[in-house]
Structures are given as C-alpha cells and as structure tokens.
Subunit: 426 residues, 2 copies
C-alpha cells in the first residue's frame, strides 16, 4: 500500500490539508496549475490560513509542482478542485473537467482516480469518467478505476482532517475496499464505505443542503419575528429549552459550500423532472439575507431623518465565515452593494480578509479600521477580534444615541448596547 | 401558593397529565364539557393511553367535573383545549374561544388565566383576553391577569411532564413570576421565564415548525433519491457519519401538532403581509407524502400486470405516531383514500387505534389482523408490535416473490426481505 505514489490535483482549502496528510506516509505530489500558489507552498507559506507551518515540516514526502510532467509516474490521482456555480446558479464544472483531462492524459493501466470535489449524484461516473477514458484511451473499470470520497473541510474551525469521519466509495467493490484502506492510513476517525459512488456523492450534497435549510428556516422565523415586533434571539432562547430543538442561529449564509452545494442537488433533481420545493425555497431566503440587512438599515436611517448620501456606515467583517479569510459567496458583499446603491459612505474593516481579494469586488473601497464617528455600525462577521468589542468601544465608534447597531450575528449581550442605541439583530 | 384552587379546562392529551400533576399538590378541578370523558376519568380510566392508573391514585386533590358551577370558586384557570386547523388550513379557534367564554363567565377579581394551547404569537392577548374581559366585565391586567405556558406533551414516548422543561410567561412581570413559581411546584425540570407572552407563544410554534421542516427536507431528499435510483437510507447512513448531520428520517408527518402548528405561524405571518416560503413548502411536501406512497404502490402493482381492483393490500398501522392511538391528521388515511379510489381491496390492522375512531373515517373498513395472502404490504407505522416482524412472518403474509413490501418507516434491515420481494422504503 505505502508504495503508491499519490498526486493531489488542486491545492486549495481541500487539497492542501489532504496533500499534507498523505505526504506524511506516501510519496505525494501536490499539483496545482497556479504557479504562484505552488511557489507559496514550496516556501511553506499558506495564504488561506488553514494549514499551519508545522504540518509542512511533518509532511516529509510531499512535493509541490505545477508541471504536468511530474504527474507521469503517479498511480493514484485525487482531484480536489473547486466546484462552484455559474451566475445562473447552475454547476460550473469547468475545473472538474480540466482536472479530469490533465489526469486522463497521464493515466496508466491500473491507476486509480479519486474525486473529492462536491458534485451531484451521478456526476463522477456520468461526466468525469468519459473525460478520463477519452484522454487516456483506457477503459473504465477494466484498465483504470475510480473512487469518490467527499471532502468535509470546515474552514476556520480548526478541525484536522485526520479527526473527521470520512466517507469513501469505489467504482467496484475491490476499488471501494482499496480506497477505504488508503484513507485508513491517514484518517484516525471513522472511515465509512458507502455502497456506491452515487450514494457517497449524494451524502455530501445533502449534508450542506440540510444546514442551509435549517439556517433558512431560522432566517424566515427572524423575518416573521421582526414583523411581530419580538426578538428572534429571545424566541430561540425559549425554544432551546426543549429537548429536541436545534440550536441554529439566523445569519448570512455564504461561502463555497453551503450556499453552493444545494444547487448541485437541485440541478440534478430538475434534470430528473423534480423541481425541489424545500431546498430551493431555503436557498432563496438565504440568498436574500444580505440585501435584507441592508434594507432594514436604510429604513432605520431614513426614520432618523438622515440624508443617505451623508451617512457613514461601518461594516465589521466581510468574509463568509468567522476567522476565515475566504470571501467567496460572502453575503456581506451584498450588504455593501445595496448600501452603495444609495450612495452611503462606508468604512469596511476585516482583520483577516486579503485586501487584494476584497478590492477585486470593490476597487475603490479600502479595508481599514474604523476611525470616524458612524451613523450605523454593522457587525457582520463574528471574527475573534470583534467578540472583544464592548459597550465603551462601540460607543466610541458611534455619533450619538440615535446611531444604529446592527448585530447580524447576535454577539452582544450587554444591555447597555441594546438599550442605548437603536439596536437590531437578525 | 398552595392554597390556590386550580381548574384545568380541557382534559385531552395536554390537560389530563397537567391536572394529575397539579392534583398532587393543589386542590384541582379537571373540567371538560364532554360528560363521557369526565365519567371515564372519574373511574380512573383514560382512553388516550397517556396517563397511567397509578397517577390517578397519586393525584389525591384532583376532582373531575363537567358542571360549570364547579368552576365558581376557582382562582387559577389553565386552558388546555385543542387548537386544530379548519379544512382551509387556517386556525380553528372555536375551542379556545368557547373555553375563554366559560372561564370569562366565572372570572373574579385577581384571578389568573393561563393558556397552554398552541397559538400564534399575539393570539392570547389579542383574541382570548377580549373574551375574558367581555364575559367577566373585568379589566385585563388590572382586575385579572393572564399567563401563557406552551404544552410540550409528546404522545406515545412516555415522557413525564414533570421532567420536561417548561416555558412560562405572564401579562406583566409580577404575573410572570407567579406563573413561574406555580409551575415550579410541579415541574422537576427547568422552568424558563420568557420575556413576554408573545415570545412564549412564538417559541412553541417554531419548535414544531422546525421539526416539520427537517422531516420535509428528508422527504424531499427521498423523492430525489428515488428518481436517482439510490436508497435514501443508504445516503442518510453515510451522511450521518458527519459530526453535525441531523438524524431525521423520511416519513408521514401527521398528528395534531407538527402537521398543524406551522399553519398557525404562517397564518399570522400572512396577516403581517409576509408569505412564508420555507415553512409552507415544507408543509406542502409533508402533506403530500401519504398520497405519494400510494402512488408509488399503484405504479408497482401496474408494473406487475395486476388488475388493481383484484389486488389485496395490507396496511399495518394507521395512527399518526407509533404506540399512540391518536388518528388525528394521520397520513395513512391519505394512503387508504388514494388506494380506495382505485378500488384496491384493503386489509388494515392497527393494534392500538380505536376501531370506532377509525370507522368514523372508513365505516366499511374493518380493522383486523392480516389473514389473507397479500399482493402488497405497507408497514406504515412503527408500532412496537410491528418491530417484531421478521422475514418468515412477512413471507407468510405475501402471495409470492413479486409481492411488494413498502417499509415506510425503514424498520427492516433483513436482507432477505429486501432481496426476495419488491422492497421499497421512503
């Protein structure tokens, strides 16, 4: 087993930790077509914060390359490229297909290709395998074999992939067993062999769709509570005393998983002539929450008789998740978009986001600490740094008692914040 | 405190256990307008199975009556009447209003009225209190006071109300404190004082709406899986290896809570000009599942080239929940309805349902053990007795290997059942 040579194709949030883990045991090649990324990793730097320097030193058998020639003597390819959505919310499979071509081109007899990217059920065998066959000239399940093992990386929460239960599957029972044994070498937690690739594919999309639906439900409750004139967090606190109430919070659902994966499932369902009701209604609610927060603020500012174009609004946090520098799919970008439409001046601060990434979206907007008195403060992401905010610090940022505090993540308990300002939480 | 005289108005699933609990400590009157029910309870019998004979003997200070005169010297009224929905799915508040009139007629200065019935946020103060004022001639929050404490009875699972955390609230802080102290006398678990009656009302409806949504999501997944051609339970088993996956199962959502309460919330939301997306889409899915199960069976029977009017189908379980004799809102009634439309012969069996209740729906259909060979068996409810079914017993009920086994609750693991017959599960 340990004499296998493994390549990880795609070294983002998913590929890098996997490459680092395999590189402790196997000769491993971390491959990415992005040369800059490879340079960075060769220098043991990792701009996405997930993997620590220490793990680069522990992964003694890992090398990085963007040179396709280096894939020639590999016999296990693990594809961990992104599977985002296009503007029309349909799956963008271009990365998956490019990676499949690259791998197809260097595939040899008895090689194994494992996909970790999130896909809809059936995609691996129906769409990716034909690429592998075409570019290798080899026959699936005779000359080469395929596995699927969905990634379960949870950015920013410090979980080590070795400690996360892993689902594996294979294109035939022997391959499934091999993929199981392979991951067993690096995963300390449970490795679960699914009955088929399709089942493993489905298990992954429904995990994130379930989370999406639960947050969308609480978001809908929050929309209703605000019309009733009661606080969502008061209602949730009471409901949470029930033994089986699920402790979800309202919030902005962004990122490249929860706000994306459900569309893979709904795409497949629609192809099979079933139009998902629950999943899509949840998606729609969650997709609108950024704009909703902005609209609530606009109403409040108008109520204060302020001229919108003269208002200064501070926004704390722009990434899609706390303590994570990933901006993909962040709904805070929607808040900014709506507020800018009304010419509101913005002071945006985020301690972890890459300024360059942010400026791709808003070139003229600088990420900087809040240094002027605000008409309103939106605390949009619960980065560690923002959890330290207290009454005095917030008071210092705000113009006066009419100033608005929008606590999107419900992080403030201090009654002085809730009572002194026009306090709002989702 | 202990010299208060308490009346429980409405002695169904909610009222009886509450009356039994209060009757251990307080002079308590269990009141119901249904004289037959009162007779039954005076004889320490309880047809709804929830409370055991032993608890009648322990509740020494409890008396039962259907005579309104007996309410005259009561000073705490607890209203536990049903709040069902009408055919148009809007709240049926008739029981709540009748009870409020009865109580209003005997309300005295400084009396307290506590509602336990599930309502939408605002209903107690906006709709019930006016009845109390009108029929008593007294003034709310000056002459009499109101509390709200949502019931959390879970029929059939054997939980004792003393061990279930209880949310309480009151029409002013003093009343809230009093209601808290009152329930503290009978609840061993946590008593949680909500900030307002509205918050307490909201907390209850969202609990059941959340459960409804989660089951509807899994039901939708099951609809998609069946089109993909994979087993939902295989997918759920894989997904359940993730640390935060929620272990819900597909199924028929009936009963007088989960399939009803969400409509109270959506009714209120619509009144406030918000049309709920997630909650209603979940309701719609769950509402259709009975008919869906029947349609799947019809397809399968046709595929077997059987003449529908000659088919004999067995149905095990008709109540809305396992080990509970309550038929209200049971989706098995929908299965029967659809199958009868196609003139299929039915053999329906349920060990706990009241035959009389069932015959109100289907006067000509007898509840009886399965005694003829079946073309299909639907195991619709996981009553204890049905969990004991095994391959041999099932084989004995079925005509041949083309016979269909529909395991709605996924209770069978035996591969022989799955492989020998045309096995289907939700």
């Amino acid at each position: 087993m340990l004499d296998n040579k493994i390549a990880i194709i795609g070294l983002g949030y998913v590929g890098l930790p996997l490459a680092l883990a395999f590189g402790e045991k196997f000769k491993t090649l971390g491959f990415d077509i992005n040369r800059k990324r490879i340079k960075e990793l060769q220098n043991k730097n990792n701009s996405n914060l997930l993997s620590k320097k220490k793990s680069f030193y522990k992964s003694k058998k890992l090398k990085f390359s963007s040179n396709k020639k280096d894939l020639k003597n590999i016999n296990i390819f693990i594809i961990t490229v992104p599977t985002p959505i296009k503007n029309n919310k349909e799956p963008d499979l271009s990365y998956l297909y490019s990676a499949s071509k690259i791998v197809g081109n260097c595939l040899k007899k008895n090689d194994l290709v494992i996909y970790e990217s999130t896909v809809y059920p059936g995609l691996t065998e129906e769409k990716c395998v034909p690429f592998l066959e075409k570019f290798s000239g080899l026959k699936f399940n005779a000359d080469f074999f395929v596995g699927y093992s969905p990634e379960r990386i949870s950015p920013g929460d410090g979980k080590d992939i070795k400690n996360i239960n892993k689902v594996v599957s294979g294109s035939n029972p022997k391959t499934a067993k091999f993929v199981y044994d392979l991951y067993k070498k690096i995963i300390k937690a449970k490795v679960y062999k699914a009955i088929s690739i399709k089942v493993a594919e489905a298990s992954k999309v429904i995990e994130n769709a379930q989370r999406d639906i639960n947050i969308s439900f609480i978001n809908e409750i929050s929309l209703i509570c605000s019309r009733i004139g009661i606080s969502t967090s008061d209602v949730l606190e009471a409901a949470n005393t029930k033994w089986n109430f699920l402790n979800f919070k309202p919030g902005l659902v962004g990122g490249h998983c929860i706000s994306v994966d459900p569309y893979y499932l709904t795409y497949k369902a629609k192809k099979l002539k079933y139009s998902p009701k629950v999943i899509l209604s949840g998606r729609n609610i969650n997709d609108q929450m950024g704009h909703y927060v902005a609209r609530v603020l606009l109403k409040k500012l108008k109520k204060n008789n302020l001229k919108l174009s003269k208002c200064l609004v501070g926004i704390l946090g722009v990434t899609f998740k706390e303590n994570c520098n990933d901006l993909r799919g962040s709904k805070v970008l929607d808040i900014i978009k709506t507020l800018k439409k009304f010419k509101i001046k913005l002071n945006v601060y985020d301690p972890v986001v890459s300024k360059k990434d942010f400026n791709k979206h808003y070139p003229k907007l600088k990420i900087k600490k809040i240094n002027k008195k605000l008409d309103a403060l939106i605390v949009a992401v619960s980065h560690k740094e923002f959890l330290k905010l207290n009454y005095t610090k917030i008071n210092n940022m705000l113009k006066n008692e009419n100033s608005i505090v929008m606590d999107v993540k419900s992080i403030f308990n201090d009654k002085r914040i809730k009572n002194k300002f026009d306090y709002w939480s989702l």
